[in-house]
Symmetry: D2
Subunit: 407 residues, 4 copies
């Protein structure tokens, strides 16, 4: 690599920087490859944890960056990316709660903003060439800043392993705390953590205990269930156990409570956008509780056709978010449709947490269409049981005509 | 009631008879109301349990029926109604596994067959006028036998309560073992049992322990997980724990195993077809395991667009089955689409049962599109990471053009 | 009828009154049947034509109404009902432009407003018991005024034909200009006119010349084509042939121009909501041109996924409008989704009218995603042809893996 | 080009050869570029016209091919590719009848079969790097023969224009009848012909007269309409004007008749799969008549929900075919769903052709759900108008409850 032909035309690059082994190697590689360009490190704080941010600026500068921008996006991430997504009910391939996917657009947007501020002419990310994230980042860059050059080192350089990276840094006397082996590849934010690699690469292997980090094993969860209450307004959680909380604080609180009960573990073999399948394990403790809460209120307030429509929005949104198409007219349209429906998603839910399960056990809503008197046996003033005959006759009329005609 | 005007024109009625209080009262009521017509009792054995069938013929005859036909539909129910439905992935409103809904068409079909055999000119059911089942039964009758008159006593008579029914029978000296109070209204078959009524009528009430009958409470389930393996062929379970089993036997075996672990409890407020909401609790222990197994194999074998399509089939099928439209061209088309996809749904799954949860922890398939070598970091011969750049450029081209044009 | 038992409990009824034979008979019938109640005639002017409104008040009072309210809804109808619907692209069963369907909600809403103003306790319509309109009116009444009693004389009285109605009026010495025979049943408004009955009742009959009223026969249209230009802003027509026009004026202008060229004739056998099929002929001259214009701009501005989504909205909306579900959360959600997409539906279209056809022959838009330089053979700076290889490899990767695995 | 580094590893290539300028240049280019490999020319006869096949073998051999295989696929193309597609109702982006798209899979399949027969190790096509066809061909190759190398000269060589190609051939003394200028790029088969380029590259230009080749201008079509009758069985045309015809013969006959009346012209700006828009004009005279016929029968035989489902199949199929995903499980599933519905698409249609329009004016079917007696005013035995009240009450119940609850 070091003897590669210098590429010109890039003066200043904003790098999505995590402080990990990959992006540490990217800094010197960019300088060597792109004509000694200036590197501005950028790190989005989307709730991945304080420990990932401590000393980050120092590390970036030591690796050769000229500046390091750490941007706090935690509240915005939950309020403007997570809440609109979960209101639609989007779940990728029936299982994955889109934790990594939802974070990519907000990170890309903030990275572009830093690029504009520092007058950069390129952006760079450390995503591999086989994954979804490269598509998500670059899809957002294309929508927000089509003029910026995008550099994806993993598709350019010849390095293919941690050993390659460690050797590369050692050659350049750049210190790293990274170890030679790392079993799992992980991505964390306020909503979730993902795990790939190691024994997970064979779907015939049950995930081992060492995989999981945000939740206890159901077997080790408390033997007593815990109940948590959510107040929901317009499809957004406003209170947890009667305490008014900001979107981010609500999520953190629920992560704590649900994680203790082993809630939110997911194990999926999914279709990546780039055409191959991969197996991932995900933990979304608080998010799983939020989902259960939203769906429970919807049971009370959405009529049959509205609910069916909500599922169609969800299906579309799950692919859109997974596929990195956030900054598109389609996304705006889906969110407009969803927020309109969510106007009636108001109420309270009590969720029971026990040994890995989150179950909505109590639900009520000022917009509820459920009425005990309508549903039950007795007489009421809106539903005359004799109406049912007419309904059934017309409802099944096409079948009757078909049967009569084919006799 | 007893002094109602006699209605004429009905000579012989086949009644869907359960031996319960309602259908026991229906027999004398039909005779009194419809010109002393002959009543043929009919009972479909769809796996509701031996105890519901013992002494049934005697009871029917004692109530005034001239014959009682009990028809064993257990294997056919699982093979021809349940398996095609679950292959589509149909789940009503995201939660309900359609246990009662799937049973109605096979019962209606068998009832029509008895009617043809005995030369009846009418069929009768004991469904109430506010529920879905009246629509399902009568929708099937319309498709299969539009010439038969349908009698729905609950929409005709004035009785509205158990007390009314008991008084009616007492007046006629017909003995019944039915008690004056019954908290829950239940419907059982091989796939599930449903519970409605009592405290469940308020969705703000958590279901009490007395609701559930097929599953133990998760809190009372074993403290050790149990693993069960399924072999799946063309979307159908062929072996449980390596033992080849008929469809019905496989379901029974899984009901036993999963019920012990508290698996398969559902609590939903759903949209009835007749326009109101109702709250029901359902237990589907074995079915929940089957579902988990099928979806797990699908994760390995369906590509992204196929899986999306399978979800659309599922959505359509969930409403079709719930709404009683089984005997329609739409149903045939949905099943044709689903069975075509299911040709590759082959493989083995191991499912972990623990405290109410069924989790697929091991999956493999001869049709798997997952390949460890493709998905992971290193080189392989089908995927060149450099291809990703071209993919991304074209995939995001519309966004890029839009951004350039609106500058 | 005249000797029917008087029904009580209704004091004042607002009747949707057209001045035709049916609603003329309804006035005395209501008085006789409902305890001498007061009748307030109501007529919505949705552009059905001046001749239908002239002398209407006099006629209503002569028939026994106490008041007659004629409400001008023409601009509101086009702006708030037609434009939002056609922006979605809704076409019922691929053919019908929903002319009658779109008018029902605005009429029902205005009727309820009159009912509130005059303190009525019931509303009444003259729709037959086999059609869609009864469902649409009453669906709107249920949403807007569930407390008002709905009276549907055609489902109550025993009259079944024009002869019955004429005899009924003659008996009461009420004069009518209605003739004993009327071949076609028609419904007109600014958007369209519908025709049913007569020879149309057999779909094996070609509609005769006498059916059509808003358009000339293509055979009699001018031998020279005419070009009309539309300016479109946010999915709404703002100018016709460069003249700024209100929604209603734009539609009237286009009706004139297109009608002369025989544009907008439709002949469909459709599925009524009430389960049977019916055959109708419709004329929508101006609307057909508007549709062509909107779709033409969409060709330029919607990307592939957005357009697919727009079609899903259209499908939903076509059933919702046809089925009379306008005043529902689903409708609001669909319109929100559609109006979001329509933000980029801006531009100019030239449409050629010739012998029954309206063809968009010129299209341009400030939001166009089309670019001559991108689409054509040569080099450009956003699309490198070498990118295509990577795209194709990943796009077809699942097929490749499937083929390799099944070898 | 001529001094490019020789690429090795290819011994024998099967080239999709048309005899046009591009593929004439490809033969020498392949030999020069790929190590003097053997070239087998292949031409699929999909009804593009005799004149395109005359002398083709001679021309191929003269250009340097070792063999030339012309395969007659005309009947198979119509029977196994066109008929299954149009039965679904697939129309791309509401307008394009998929003429080029449907031909690609059958050509690719036959090309692979030739490759297997002659023992080739590569296949080659002459599609450009900006179009859809490269994706369609290579998508099919990936599914059918992932082991074969695919060569796409337009993405490899540096030539970019007709001038380049002519110079290239002149340099090598290879004669060509190709002219230096060609206004439109065209693709023809039995179903259609497409036109791109020239003035069409600006969507603000109306297509000039010289564009069209299969149809006369509506202005020049006969002044008298012509009626053509179709007999349809299981969604396939079996007779034209009462004459039993093979699929291909039926299409040819209809092309003739409809072309004379100017029927089947399409002008669309469409979204290419590769992310940009392009403008194309298409002529599908016979196909337009077939479509009108199929949809007309469907009006009679499909109930409301079945028809809605058929539209969903159509939407999926339109993208699948356009996107080149024919040889996938999704395609099989869609066709299975469609053919199931098509079992009742039987009957006769009379279509009026006049000045560019094809209008179904008479329709009948043994499977018709339309019944004059049910639809019209009077009494009948399947529909009691009083049933409508019950239907409406339940159909609008959710609206009523919502309105009552929010008071």
């Amino acid at each position: 690599m070091s003897n590669a032909v210098k590429k010109s035309g890039v003066k200043k690059v904003v790098l999505a920087y995590s402080g990990g082994l990959d992006t540490s190697a990217i800094i010197p590689w960019l300088k060597e490859t792109y004509d000694d360009c200036e590197i501005v490190a950028f790190c989005a704080d989307v709730g991945q944890g304080e420990e990932e941010l401590v000393g980050l600026t120092e590390k970036a500068l030591a690796s050769g960056a000229s500046e390091c921008h750490i941007v706090d996006l935690k509240e915005e991430f939950v309020a403007d990316y997570i809440y609109p997504t979960i209101a639609t009910g989007a779940i990728y391939e029936g299982t994955y709660l889109l934790g990594t996917s939802m974070a990519r657009p907000i990170i890309a947007k903030a990275q572009v903003e830093v690029a504009r501020k520092v007058g950069a002419d390129a952006v760079c990310h450390g995503c591999t060439g086989k994954g979804n994230d490269q598509v998500r980042f670059e899809g957002c860059f294309a929508a927000l800043a089509p003029d910026l050059k995008v550099i994806a080192p993993w598709r350019e350089w010849e390095m293919r392993s941690r050993e390659d990276l460690l050797a590369y840094l050692a050659e350049r006397d750049i210190k790293t705390s990274a170890s030679a082996t790392k079993i799992y590849s992980r991505d964390a934010n306020a909503w979730h953590i993902s795990h790939e690699g190691g024994e997970l690469e064979d779907p015939w292997n049950e995930p081992s205990k060492g995989v999981w980090t945000m939740t206890v094993a159901p077997e080790e969860a408390p033997n007593e269930p815990e109940y948590v209450s959510l107040a929901i307004k317009n499809g957004r959680v406003t209170h947890v156990n009667d305490e008014a909380l900001s979107p981010y604080a609500a999520l953190m609180t629920l992560n704590d409570i649900a994680g203790k009960h082993g809630v939110g573990r997911i194990d999926i073999t999914e279709n990546r956008l780039v055409g191959m399948k991969s197996r991932g394990c995900y933990e979304t403790p608080g998010g799983t509780v939020m989902f259960a809460g939203l769906r429970a209120i919807e049971e009370l307030v959405l009529d049959k056709t509205s609910r069916t429509w909500r599922e169609q929005i969800a299906g579309q949104m799950s692919h859109l978010v997974y596929d990195g198409r956030w900054f598109t007219p389609l996304c705006k349209s889906l969110i407009a449709a969803s927020e309109s429906l969510a106007e009636s998603v108001n109420g309270d839910v009590v969720i029971k947490l026990y040994k890995g399960q989150a179950t909505a056990v109590k639900k009520r809503s000022p917009n509820s269409l459920y009425s005990e008197s309508f549903a039950t046996f007795g007489e009421d003033d809106v539903y005359d049981q004799k109406h049912a005959e007419g309904f059934i006759r017309l409802y099944s009329l096409a079948s009757r005509i078909r049967a009569l005609n084919t006799k």
